[in-house]
Amino acid sequence: MAYRFGSEQGFAISHLLSATHEPMISGYLITICITIVIYAMLAHSLNIITGHAGQISLGHASFFGIGAYTSAMLYAEAGFAFWISVPMAAVAAGVVGALLGIPCLRVRDDFLAITTMGINFVVEAIFLYLPFFGGAMGIGGINLPRWFGREMTKPEYFVVIFAVFSLLLLLDRRMGRSWIGLAWASIRDDEQAAEAMGVDVVRFKVVAFILGSAIAGLAGGFYAHFLTFIMPQNFGFGQSIVILSMVVFGGIGTRWGPIVGAIILGVLPEVSRPIMEYRILIYGILLLSMMRFQPGGLLGPESILPRILRRPVYVLPGQR
């Protein structure tokens, strides 16, 4: 095959398209790609809550977990197909988000931070201690979805979730330009002023919370079917911090920031063994340095990135 970018890649794509051959793109690479899309979805959904509506949520991994467990139980215990279990994961997470969000969002910022932290611990404890959810061993036996009469391959799974995520981003963009986006922007800028202007602040906060939770749940469903087994430890406070780091690193409230953050922070531990070892430490230091020195994130205002990348202006010798 004579593709411009090299016959190797050409081989890979042709093998991708024909389902009867083993894909030449290494399984490891595809695994990373799928993981990054899932993290990007998580970071993006947290950004809806934290960036758009300005609410701090320190328990985002709980909705990830609720989605994963819903999907896992519907598939493994009740026998529903992937195409039902994953949307239901989003619905379940959204419903829980509504139930928790409505009382919690009436309280001040600080209380919300504590409450979401507490929610994380409680949800993780529920998954860990209730035998209904499999306890510490979690749930296993969740397979990749089936279509066209056979099991999906990993590259095809990647295409599916990538497509879903792109669709979500398009919808998010439209929403951002609508009156919901305008209301969110006003709440983020100055909550009291927005309230004074007649914006129903609590309602919009709840909408953001539900949307963010639902998308996190969707990511959880994808995660469960990809990993084929889930354990409560994956959805604890540490995971919430990982997601938060990605959002902060990329830039809270920016459109692409969290996705960029997810890509960079998702790829780095994979390419560098030392980084993988000290991953949590690095995330912690990253969170603290970013907020201290670059609160807007990499893609936010006043980022040093444009300054580093900007071409020096050519001046004639002798000119200032």
Partner: protein, 285 residues
């Protein structure tokens, strides 16, 4: 039996009070949720253990733990919180979370992931009257915490410095207009609060005879729950809430034997009280 549980509850409650007071004092002045405070607590335990291994005397290691924690707390305030006060409060909160995460990992990397033993000889001896037993460490806890709390009360209620601190907690701008050195008050707040957390770390380390990297995780959220329960920024409220939580934990688990995770009691108590008193037990709007 009842007296025994009462004593146990008060002992554990007073340690919770030591940890939570630092948190509430910081919130009172800076309106920041100092999540990393639990990291300072664990740091106090590690520094205390290290000094105990080097020096061999318990009381000196307690002082060293408090000093180490105090210095760490001061550094956090000076370099991490104060420069960020102009930003929305989510910024120092995230910095605090990042710091806490990094601290726990640092402990794991430096001191190892295993539990270390802190078996200090205190020299007080046990106390028993009939079926009422107070172990050596419990007597130590009661003694140290009461001493510290009385010192704090005397400082806040009887001295000019305490008056300045209370003024800053109410309204830093006006206090500054009256000539109070607000930066100094903030620094002292952190020093005292962190020293108390360090003391709590050493006490718990000795009580459980265990020091491990994530020992701050549960106190982190428990102290937050206690602080909210007592009323954010309210010092007597926090002490009261801490004792209440300590007693509740002991009674629910020890007396009523409900199969309920012990550490969830604080969180549940917080939710219940918040439903009736949204600003905490003694909090005001």
């Amino acid at each position: 039996m009842l007296w025994q549980q009462l004593a146990n509850g008060i002992a554990i409650g007073s340690v919770y009070a030591l940890i939570s007071l630092g948190l509430t004092m910081v919130y009172g002045i800076l309106r920041i949720l100092h999540v990393a405070h639990a990291g300072i607590y664990a740091l106090g335990a590690y520094v205390g253990l290290l000094s105990f291994r080097l020096i061999g005397d318990f009381w000196l290691s307690l002082i060293a733990g408090m000093a180490g924690a105090a210095i760490a707390g001061y550094l956090v305030e000076r370099f991490l919180y104060t420069p960020l006060l102009h930003l929305p409060r989510i910024a120092p909160l995230i910095v605090s979370i990042g710091l806490f995460t990094a601290l726990e990992e640092a402990f794991r990397i430096v001191a190892g992931p295993h539990t270390l033993a802190y078996n200090a000889r205190i020299g007080l001896g046990n106390f028993s009257v009939g079926s009422f037993h107070l172990t050596e460490t419990q007597i130590l806890i009661l003694f140290v915490t009461f001493a510290i709390l009385i010192f704090l009360w005397a400082l806040l209620a009887k001295t000019r410095a305490g008056l300045a601190m209370r003024a800053c907690a109410q309204d830093p701008e006006t206090a500054s207009a009256f000539g109070v050195n607000v930066s100094a008050v903030i620094a002292v707040n952190f020093l005292i609060g962190s020293a108390m957390a360090g003391a709590a770390g050493v006490l718990i380390g000795v009580y459980d005879n265990q020091v491990w990297p994530t020992m701050g995780s549960i106190p982190a959220y428990k102290a937050l729950a206690i602080v909210v329960l007592g009323g954010l920024g309210n010092i007597p409220g926090t002490v009261l809430a801490a004792i209440v939580v300590g007693l509740a934990e002991t009674f629910f688990i020890g007396v009523l034997a409900i199969p309920f995770p012990r550490d969830a009691v604080a969180f549940v108590a917080m939710i219940i009280v918040l439903m009736f008193k949204p600003y905490g037990l003694l909090g005001k709007a």
